[in-house]
């Protein structure tokens, strides 16, 4: 017992056992590989994909590995924006130099899971999986980031991240997320996440909040409570006009509180009254979620303004 020789001699009739794996070195090569093998699945960190493969939910006929495309593993600057490669890992985004640029994205990356996951999981993968609990997503929504999609024959198109997450604009066959364009706001940003435990865990709710002093705006997105991040636009506009942008930029606790309640009520609205005018109270679990969102939004704004 215990010896493992002979494994190669095992006969198999499993039809999908042979898998083609390509490792392109550039974005265009990757797109070309996908065009050549329409059934191929692109894989970056594989933290979601391999879990699906291991549980038997996904049997990709071929894989296009994106790990060797060095052009999408870093970032560059472009007209007041950062152009983030889709292959940036959470671990890389969590480092101090990145945190100085886009603090909320760095905070989300640090909270995204245990080190093994953060070392492998990528920004582009987080967007492509579009899991409701994806920690980068509310940050990108609050930053109003846009995606640069690489298509066949060197084609590039740009879509807002919210359009992809909402399904307004989908990735077409053979397309890949190449870059994420994020404005550099040079102002405080906060990402806060409530989880069930002290160790890394999935978000119960998360809030990303960024200040945009140039446009005198506050932008906020709530993650994990809906299939995609939610933007409480009225609450943002209301609180932005309360802030003295040229002065101290502070708010009284009552205003922070009211902002939290406003955000929470916008994201988790009261039930519509019935025909007889009676209102069913929210179930306790939903009420707790609403209180959680309110506390997170209040704390996030408080920290951004402190």
């Amino acid at each position: 017992m215990g010896q493992r020789e002979g494994a190669a001699g095992l006969t198999t009739h499993a039809p999908q056992a042979a898998q083609a794996v390509t490792l392109p070195a550039s974005l265009d090569e990757a797109v070309a590989a996908l065009a050549a093998m329409p059934a191929a699945v692109p894989v970056a960190g594989g933290t979601d994909l391999m879990a699906a493969v291991n549980s038997g939910q996904l049997r990709p006929a071929a894989l296009v590995g994106l790990g060797r495309i060095s052009e999408i593993r870093g970032w560059q600057y472009q007209d007041g924006h950062a152009l983030l490669g889709a292959g940036l890992t959470h671990a890389r985004m969590g480092r101090p130099d990145f945190a100085a640029l886009i603090p909320a994205l760095a905070a989300a990356a640090r909270a995204a899971g245990p080190p093994q996951i953060r070392n492998a999981g990528t920004l582009g993968g987080n967007i492509a999986s579009a899991a409701p609990t994806g920690d980068a997503l509310p940050v990108l929504a609050a930053l109003e980031a846009t995606l640069i999609i690489a298509g066949p024959d060197g084609a590039r198109r740009e879509i807002p991240v919210s359009h992809l997450l909402a399904g307004v604009d989908m990735l077409r066959g053979g397309e890949l997320i190449g870059y994420v364009r994020v404005p550099l706001l040079h102002a405080p940003q906060v990402f806060l996440k409530a989880t069930g435990r002290t160790g890394p865990g999935r978000a119960i709710a998360s809030v990303a909040l960024v200040l945009d002093p140039a446009r005198r705006g506050v932008r906020c997105a709530v993650g994990a409570i809906a299939p995609m991040p939610l933007r409480p636009l009225d609450a943002e506009a209301w609180v932005a006009q309360l802030i003295d942008w040229d002065g101290e930029r502070t708010l009284v606790p009552e205003a922070l509180n009211a902002f939290g309640e406003y955000v929470a009520a916008a994201c988790i609205p009261d039930p519509v009254p019935g025909e007889d005018g009676s209102v069913q109270p929210l179930p306790p679990a939903v009420l707790h979620l609403r209180r959680t969102v309110a506390a997170l939004a209040r704390r996030a704004l408080g920290r951004a303004l402190s």
Partner: protein
């Protein structure tokens, strides 16, 4: 410094590096620790045999359904499939079960829980096997699932044996007794999964004599062999269970729902068959901790002395009985906790539902009631305005007191001493001296914690648990010790489940025979039975058997010498491989005395008998009891309801410390499992269907969730009936720590906290 010492120093250094510790009471490291750490230790999932086939088990997607038909023809025709078996292919007894034989190998007419096995496939590739299992067409008529244990009493019987598995109406004392102060409460305990780090796996190899060998991580190999043999219609001698490394066992680890099909497939195909369960199958298949509903009423006098406890305890056993009857006995017997309660009226039921199966998980029964009676003690303390620790001290049980079962506690029961030790231990400091952004707040280092919203709470839990099987279970174990050529070998079918038995066996032989090189043979069912590895029984009975066998070898070794010198063997002693007499006249080595002989001895250890609980829940049902007191300090973010356990200070009654490092590890592991049960671990179901059977959805404690564990005091008062005076140490911290954490959250928030695990919304303080 004397001259003698100075001259002795170089001599000591000549003996080489640090002397390896040996004997009892020292931290001898485990022999396989290095291989396990380096990942080279072969577990069942690593095994391989030439020409093996892979198995897959088809499991029910419904919690309750009538099976209209099972069509295996498509699966059989798939290329690479070698066998497909269903209930029709079970040659022996169709029903099996640990406590009671009420569980089919494969469901035939009805499925009674989500994940119940229906068919199994052997194929030449694991993917083929899984696809073939999925290709078995089962037509179901879905039935209403009974998922609320309270409705099980009235519901149509889910099983020919009825829905009531056991009822214990315990009556002790005067029913008319009443106290001045009465507190009531209702408590719910969730479904903890043992979640072993290595999921189930096994390899079955057919034998030339028509039998089969099962290579599995069994914790009770002889019982598993007998079950398998009965199912295969073979004599027990023709089925052999070989125990592989056990990757984590805090319960009856193995799921027979795949063990039994493995052997059937090997017998049918004549080929070795292997199966490695996915994490999902593991969650669906093995036994869980009983979800429990408890209602309590405590009566006390104005000083806080307990007068009467009334309680109703309802265990959700899931679809099959398993060991639920034993769990219920523990729950009912320890329903009042380690407190003196003159009058107790406890009704306990274990009922059948269509929920996932429940069974033995360490501290079963005792853990659920501990959370409830400690919540009641907190309520009582609050109502009386007495300090919670003081109230517990006023009622603490001691040796000589009587359990509600009428059994007198004869073993050491230093409950008050344990409680005082944790109460008087200094509280952890607030992190005032470190910068605020370095504080580890509830929610973790990247969480949303805010110091202004954090409240600290201190709470207590005192728990008890029984050791060894109860109610007349025959807890015998057999061990053989062999000495040859200066090396001792222990043969004992006690499975090393992580409790440290193999290390302990080496220590016992080292201590008794003075031989340092001791090997413990791998376990299989060709050895005499040693019983299940649970409730501390191997430290007690298997350790006792090893000691007796070693002593018999010692006598064989020393008898000729003693005879020669005309003294009794007691006057000779063996240390470091040398035999010396009390007066120093005789001095020889063990090797010389052995003279090339091989010495063998086999011995049994059987604890004193117990009796079943009678119709009123009375009887001397337990061999021994272990106690523990824990003080928990928690931080709660009262807006988000997130809880971080800062510190657990523990004092435990251990009888005698046999291996300090192992003891500490077991206590820390137990406490951490308890923290999981208190805060996050709950296998959720929706109408009987298991939700999120994966380690993302089922949140085990991580290193960040594990608190600082301070072992404040280990009371070493030897239990005279135990072979070494040592008590079981693993289970009682599991039992006690959830209650202590809940008590601390209660103190921090003022909320009732009557449900485990504690959901965030139960730890939130809403501004009034």
């Amino acid at each position: 410094m004397s001259n003698e010492a100075a001259t002795a120093t170089p001599a000591a250094s000549e003996t080489g590096p640090e002397p390896v510790p040996h004997g009892l009471g020292v931290s001898l490291p485990a022999a396989d620790a290095r291989a396990k750490t380096e990942g080279t230790f072969p577990y069942a999932a690593d095994l391989w045999a030439e020409g093996l086939l892979w198995a897959a088990v088809l499991r029910s997607p419904h919690p309750h359904a009538r099976i209209v038909s099972i069509d295996t023809s498509h699966a059989r025709e798939m290329p690479g499939v070698r066998a497909v078996i269903t209930h029709e292919d079970v040659p022996g007894t169709a029903l099996h079960g640990r406590g009671r034989a009420d569980r089919p190998v494969f469901a035939s007419e009805v499925v009674r829980h989500h994940g119940e096995p229906l068919a199994a496939v052997a194929a030449d590739h694991p993917d083929t096997a899984r696809m073939a299992a999925a290709a078995v067409i089962v037509e179901y008529e879905v039935l209403d699932a009974v998922t609320d244990p309270e409705q099980a009493f009235e519901a149509e019987p889910l099983h020919p044996d009825g829905n009531l598995i056991r009822h214990i109406p315990l009556r002790h004392g005067d029913p008319a007794a009443a106290g001045e102060i009465v507190v009531e409460g209702q408590y719910r305990i969730g479904r903890q999964d043992p979640a072993p780090i290595g999921a189930e796996a096994g390899l079955a190899v057919p034998r030339p004599d028509g039998g089969v060998e099962l290579y599995i991580a069994s914790t009770d190999p002889h019982a598993d062999r007998d079950t398998a043999a009965a199912c295969y219609g073979l004599e027990p001698e023709r089925v052999k269970v070989v125990v592989t490394g056990v990757p984590g066992a805090t319960a009856d680890r193995e799921d027979q729902g795949f063990q039994l099909p493995l052997g059937l497939l090997a017998l049918k195909t004549g080929c070795p068959v292997k199966l490695t369960a996915t994490r999902e199958e593991s969650f669906l298949g093995h036994a869980h901790r009983h979800p429990t509903l408890l209602r309590y009423r405590h009566h006390a006098d104005a000083e806080g002395k307990l007068v009467k406890v009334e309680a109703q305890i309802l265990l959700d056993a899931g679809a099959y009985a398993d060991t639920s009857a034993e769990s219920l006995a523990a729950a009912v017997s320890f329903a009042c906790g380690p407190y003196v309660v003159p009058n107790a009226f406890i009704e306990g039921w274990a009922v059948r539902t269509n929920n996932p199966p429940s069974g033995h998980v360490r501290g079963e029964g005792a853990m659920q009631v501990c959370a409830a009676y400690e919540a009641q003690m907190d309520k009582l303390a609050k109502k009386l305005g007495i300090d919670p620790a003081e109230l517990r001290l006023r009622n603490a049980m001691a040796t000589g007191d009587v359990l509600p079962t009428g059994q007198t506690v004869t073993c050491p029961a230093p409950v008050a001493e344990l409680l005082q030790a944790v109460r008087d231990f200094p509280l952890p400091a607030l992190p005032k001296d470190t910068p605020e952004d370095e504080w580890l707040l509830p929610g973790g280092p990247e969480g949303a914690g805010e110091p202004g919203a954090v409240r600290r709470g201190v709470g207590y839990g005192v728990g008890m648990v029984h050791m060894l099987g109860a109610e007349g279970a025959d807890e015998v174990s057999t061990a053989t010790v062999k000495v040859h050529d200066g090396v001792a070998t222990v043969l004992c079918a006690a499975v090393e489940t992580g409790q440290g038995f193999t290390t302990l066996a080496r220590q016992i032989v080292q201590e008794t025979l003075g031989i340092d090189e001791v090997h413990v043979a791998p376990v299989d069912t060709d050895q005499p039975p040693a019983g299940a590895g649970c409730r501390g029984r191997h430290t007690w009975v298997s350790g006792g058997a090893v000691e007796r066998a070693a002593k018999m070898v010692r006598t064989q070794l020393l008898q000729p010498l003693a005879h020669k010198f005309g003294m009794s063997t007691e006057l000779l002693q063996i240390t470091d491989g040398k035999i010396t007499s009390y007066d120093g006249v005789l001095s020889t080595t063990v090797t010389e005395a052995m003279d090339g002989k091989e010495l063998w001895a086999t011995a049994q250890c059987r604890p004193h008998p117990t009796e079943p609980l009678d119709a009123a829940g009375q009887g001397d049902a337990f061999v021994g009891l272990a106690f523990c007191a824990i003080r928990a300090v928690v931080d709660v973010d009262i807006e988000l309801g997130s809880v971080r356990v800062v510190e657990l200070a523990l004092a435990q009654d251990v009888g005698r410390i046999l291996n300090p490092a192992q003891l500490t590890a077991r206590i820390e592991a137990g406490v951490t499992q308890g923290v999981g049960a208190a805060l996050t671990e709950n296998l959720r179901t929706a109408r009987g269907l298991v939700r999120h059977p994966d380690l993302t959805g089922y949140a085990l404690p991580t290193a960040l969730d594990a608190p600082d564990i301070r072992i404040v005091k280990l009371v070493e008062e030897r239990d005279v009936v135990a072979p070494f005076g040592a008590k079981a140490v693993s289970a009682v911290p599991v039992v006690t720590s959830p209650a202590a954490v809940a008590s601390a959250v209660r103190a921090a928030t003022g909320r009732p906290v009557n449900r485990l695990p504690i959901r965030p919304q139960a730890a939130v303080v809403t501004p009034s």
